[in-house]
Amino acid sequence: MSIDSKEIEKVAVLSRLKFDQKQLNEVTERLTSVLDFIDQLHQADTQGIQPMAHPMDAVQRLRADKVTETNQRDKYQKVAPSTENGLYLVPKVIE
């Protein structure tokens, strides 16, 4: 499966990553080789095989509906890049 730099650029936008032209060429080359390799997958006969999302095929456990958390805003916001009056600040969002 070959992938061109246009597709890489699209995927980069979705991932919020940016590459300059030189990097883009390099990334494209490397990803092409990885994707070629991954394509071995298509040799597998998986017809009728149930997809496996978890190794144990286990079932979700349920949590009791109880409030167990207390307010620790100051502690959690100590590691934040930018806060004011208890809010996290980001550059203005335009809707």
Binding site: S15, K18, F37, L41, V79, S82
Partner: protein, 482 residues
């Protein structure tokens, strides 16, 4: 003193042969002296360690009996540790002082163990050589021109160099076993769900599992006793009692059925390395085990399957690193999109970005069925191979990695050759099985690891087999530096 095993340190403390302060000080001095060259630690928590040691000495004097009370160890820097820097080897978290403890950290605290610091690792555990760390590569103590393996390279190198008697680690595709193999130490990846993932910074959620790196299997049992357990905070944690993993260490191996997957001994394996592995297997025969060839017919699929599933999961696990609530934020963003894009472009290293791109690609519309769904189906085939094999045998054995430690920079140019480092270890992660790597010989002065794979929740049997081997061999006692 630093060559003592965890078990020896534990009994020495209880017998009053030395204090926790003394042994902790000893390891801290060793780290200060030797680690500048090895770079196996990102953070050394000297003050906290000594404070914990003083506390432990008081508790020992008061007659408290926890197995790891006062015993020093180190955490891979992937485990959140309250009030201590937790970086996951990334610039993204280079300033992240965790406000909470992972369950593994909390469990070891409860057991009374003393934290020496946080060990270096591949960025977000993505790598097999520890060269992707933002904090610089870790050197293999056996040859400082070589890699220690990864991603738990810091933990493996630190235990090998006897900078710590034990370290926690994580394994997503071989990240405990491969560095253990390359550094000549014992590394155990438990069954998926055996150790809680709460507070362990996620790489690939359905594959990640924490385990110990130690000198011996007995020490691994001791560490796993403290680390394992059901955790209501982790939906994938398994609610099953934790046995005393030391209980069966001395069981006889007479009649034990060991399978050798023929695919693990096919082309790609260094013939000299194969010979070393065969010698280790002969040792098991002498111990009474029955050796048998088995087949894992779909094992060739494991690396491609892994490189769909792991990047897919990681690409979204890493979306939370957006510069909003913690971690790195780029300087002077002009708008929101600029903040996201520059924060992530500047904060992540190349390999991480590569995997995010692959993961985003295989999940994007139009490719999902061909890649992700297909990989999930093939994953079941791989698991089924193991299930079938374990109908015939008790344990599987083979090499941990295709070659001993390689040179720094040797495989960084081509991601694919790096990915193939994990060819023998990845299958167990996909299936969720436990595996261990133990030192089983040397090749040109470099350690070689034997991998043992067990059935679900058969950690006791794995540790029993590893321990028995270590009773009749000395490979686990050889050290690179005094």
């Amino acid at each position: 003193m630093h060559n003592k095993t965890l078990s020896e340190i534990s009994s020495g403390l209880k017998n009053g042969d030395f204090s926790s302060q003394e042994i902790t000080r000893h390891f801290l001095d060793r780290i200060n002296r030797l680690d500048p060259e090895l770079n196996s630690f990102i953070t050394v928590t000297e003050d906290q360690a000594l404070a914990q040691a003083i506390q432990a000495d008081k508790m020992i004097a008061a007659g408290e009996q926890q197995a790891l009370l006062g015993v020093p160890f180190a955490h891979k820097d992937i485990f959140c540790t309250e009030d201590i820097l937790t970086t996951s080897g990334s610039k993204m978290l280079a300033n992240f002082v965790s406000p909470y403890d992972s369950t593994v950290a909390a469990n070891l605290k409860l057991a009374g163990a003393v934290t020496l610091g946080k060990t270096n690792m591949d960025e977000f555990a993505m790598g097999s050589s520890n060269e992707t760390s933002y904090f610089g590569a870790v050197k293999n103590p056996w040859d400082t021109n070589r890699v220690p393996g990864g991603s738990s390279g810091g933990s493996a190198a630190a235990v090998a160099a006897r900078l710590t008697p034990a370290a926690t680690a994580t394994d997503t595709g071989g990240s405990i076993r491969q560095p253990a193999s390359l550094c000549g130490v014992t590394g155990l990846k438990p069954t998926y769900g055996r150790v809680s993932r709460w507070g362990m910074i996620a790489f690939a959620s359905s594959l990640d599992q924490a385990g110990p790196i130690t000198q011996t299997a007995e020490d691994a049992a001791l560490m796993l006793n403290a680390m394992a357990g059901f955790d209501p905070k982790d939906s994938t944690s398994v609610d099953q009692p934790v046995p005393d993993y030391r209980a069966n260490l001395n069981d006889s191996l007479d009649g034990l059925k060991i399978g050798l997957p023929k695919e693990f001994f096919a082309s790609g394996l260094d013939p000299k390395l194969e010979k070393t592995i065969q010698q280790a297997i002969s040792e098991y025969e002498r111990l009474g085990a029955i050796i048998k060839e088995v087949s894992l017919p779909n094992s060739a699929l494991s690396v491609p399957v892994y490189y769909v599933i792991a990047p897919a999961e990681c690409s979204t696990n890493l979306s939370r690193f957006d510069g909003v609530r913690y971690g790195y934020r780029c300087a002077d963003p002009v708008d929101l999109e600029d903040m996201y894009t520059r924060t992530r472009t500047e904060g992540f290293g190349d390999e991480v970005k590569r995997r995010i791109l692959i993961g985003t690609y295989v999940l994007s519309s139009g490719f999902y069925d061909a890649y992700y769904l297909k990989a999930q189906q093939a994953r079941r085939l791989i698991k089924q191979d193991f299930v079938n094999a374990f109908k015939e045998v008790d344990l599987l054995m083979g090499p941990t990695s295709p070659s001993p430690a390689f040179k720094l920079g040797e495989k960084t140019a081509d991601p694919l050759t790096m990915y193939l480092e994990d060819i023998y270890t990845i299958g167990t992660n996909l299936a969720g099985l436990p595996g261990i790597s133990i030192p089983a010989g040397q090749l040109d002065g470099l350690p070689v690891g034997l991998q043992i794979i067990g059935n679900y929740f058969d950690e006791s049997k794995l540790l029993n087999a590893a321990h028995q081997y270590q009773q009749v061999t000395d490979w686990h006692k050889t050290t690179p530096i005094d």
